[in-house]
Amino acid sequence: MPLLAQAAAQLAPTQGVTVALAFSAALFCVGLVGFLVRRNMILMFLCTELMLQAAAIAFIAFGRMRMDTGGQVFVIFILTVAAAEAALALGLVVLLYRRRETLSAEAWQELHE
């Protein structure tokens, strides 16, 4: 048991994990602001990628804190979702761009065609 306690003291995640969590929170908020502020449809989706990234960092940090690899496994799924989202969203954006010849999200304020 003293060996375990020693190892725990060595590996106890403290400051690094909190800094990573603060970074994750700030990154998520920047992504959120970006999604609201950006008017280019592609960059709006890029901002959702920022938010996904922030979620991944939070998963890793909490997983490190609890010494649970489940957090890392979930980040793999986040990567999957991000890849699927990129493929679909960009396909849609290209479709919309062909119709209006602009990437501005405001071109689609009225959705009837």
Binding site: Q15, V19, F45, L92
Partner: protein
């Protein structure tokens, strides 16, 4: 009243102030204003973010500072600068490149958090695959218009932000709300530190026991003459490790006493020796994540496959519609009637 009580009753106040300063800086940076104001905004925002990280460290409690903390802070700062450039840069292509900066900073933080596999997976998948897709579409769709002098300008919708005030306010509230989580994290970590370490070692031991080849390799480090895992008394499997992977085939050749894994191996001179192996140093991150992924979340793994398949179908369907649209436009340009109106019923139903 004890002054420490008042401090502990509002431990998040400095965090909120730091978040407000960072938000104000972000607001200045977002405004399409003159250079000076933006520069001031950058300084204010970075100062706010630095205060934010300092507050996070203070919230971490009276732990001894580790060497890696400055590295965390540096990479966090790089990541945030990249992210802010993503949402402020007037050129979309540059915004996408700055996203790579954020991805690399996040990967560095993953590395320091001992998620080595995902650090590189992140760079390969995000910076390598997803970002290239974004760049491809950006370059496909985005042509900067030239103004009357012939200089390439930026689109209005890339230069002028939409409702920066409201957005920043919302972001500030979001950050303030997340502060509560950050505050609770350190005490959770402290409570869990020893338990988590025990869990880690136990889990490594279990993982090692279900991987006979890895177990034999680890035993060989201590006992170079080992040729195979020993059979147990009842003659069960665990003998030739190369052809019985999976299950708990090797567990009969090993016992776990809480700190060390006792592995029984056959040596070259036909003896059975017992070797003590420290599981915490045997299983690396990739093996643990892989085993977790397969053994604990098989349904989620299948679901991820279905999601990717659906994304592929969706992309194919979207691309097919684009081709039809192209035909339609060509017909209209040639003065013929639109194809959409006189599509045969079967094709219209197919969409």
């Amino acid at each position: 009243m004890n002054p420490t009580d008042t401090i502990s009753s509002a431990p998040l106040m400095p965090f909120y102030i730091a978040a407000a300063i960072a938000a104000a800086g972000l607001l200045f940076v977002l405004r399409p204003a003159r250079g000076n104001l933006r520069r001031a905004g950058t300084v204010i925002g970075l100062a706010g973010f630095g205060m934010l990280l300092a507050q996070a460290i203070k919230l971490a409690g009276p732990s001894e500072s580790s060497i890696s903390t400055p590295f965390y802070m540096v990479f966090a700062a790089i990541g945030i600068i990249g992210a802010v450039r993503v949402i402020t840069h007037p050129r979309p292509v540059f915004a996408a490149i700055y996203f790579v900066v954020t991805v690399i900073a996040a990967a560095a933080i993953f590395l320091m958090l001992q998620a080595e596999f995902l650090a590189f997976a992140l760079i390969i998948v995000y910076a390598g695959a997803i970002l290239i897709t974004y760049m491809f579409v950006l370059m496909l769709a985005h042509q900067s218009p030239e103004d009357e002098i012939g200089r390439i300008g930026d689109e209005d919708y890339d230069r002028i932000p939409r409702e920066p005030m409201v957005a920043v306010l919302l972001g500030f509230f979001m950050l303030a709300a997340l502060g509560a989580v950050i505050e609770r994290a350190p005490e959770l970590a402290m409570e869990n530190a020893t338990i988590a370490q025990t869990r880690m070692v136990t889990r490594s031991a279990n993982a090692l026991q279900s991987m006979p080849l890895a177990m034999l390799a680890q035993a060989r480090l201590k006992e170079p003459t080992a040729i195979s895992l020993a059979k147990d008394a009842s003659g069960n499997s665990g003998g030739n490790s190369s052809d019985n992977f999976g299950g708990n085939s090797a567990s009969s050749a090993s016992t776990w006493d809480g700190t060390m894994l006792q592995v029984r191996v056959n040596t070259e001179d036909n003896e059975v020796r017992c070797v003590a192996v420290d599981p915490a140093q045997c299983i690396d991150n990739v093996q643990l994540v892989g085993l977790d992924l397969i053994a604990k979340y098989p349904a989620s793994l299948e679901l991820a496959g279905v999601i990717l398949l659906m994304a592929m179908f969706g992309a194919v369907v979207l691309a097919r519609r684009q081709i039809e649209l192209g035909d339609d436009e060509r017909r209209r340009a040639a003065g013929m009637s639109s194809m959409v109106l006189d599509l045969p019923e079967t094709e219209r139903g197919g969409n």
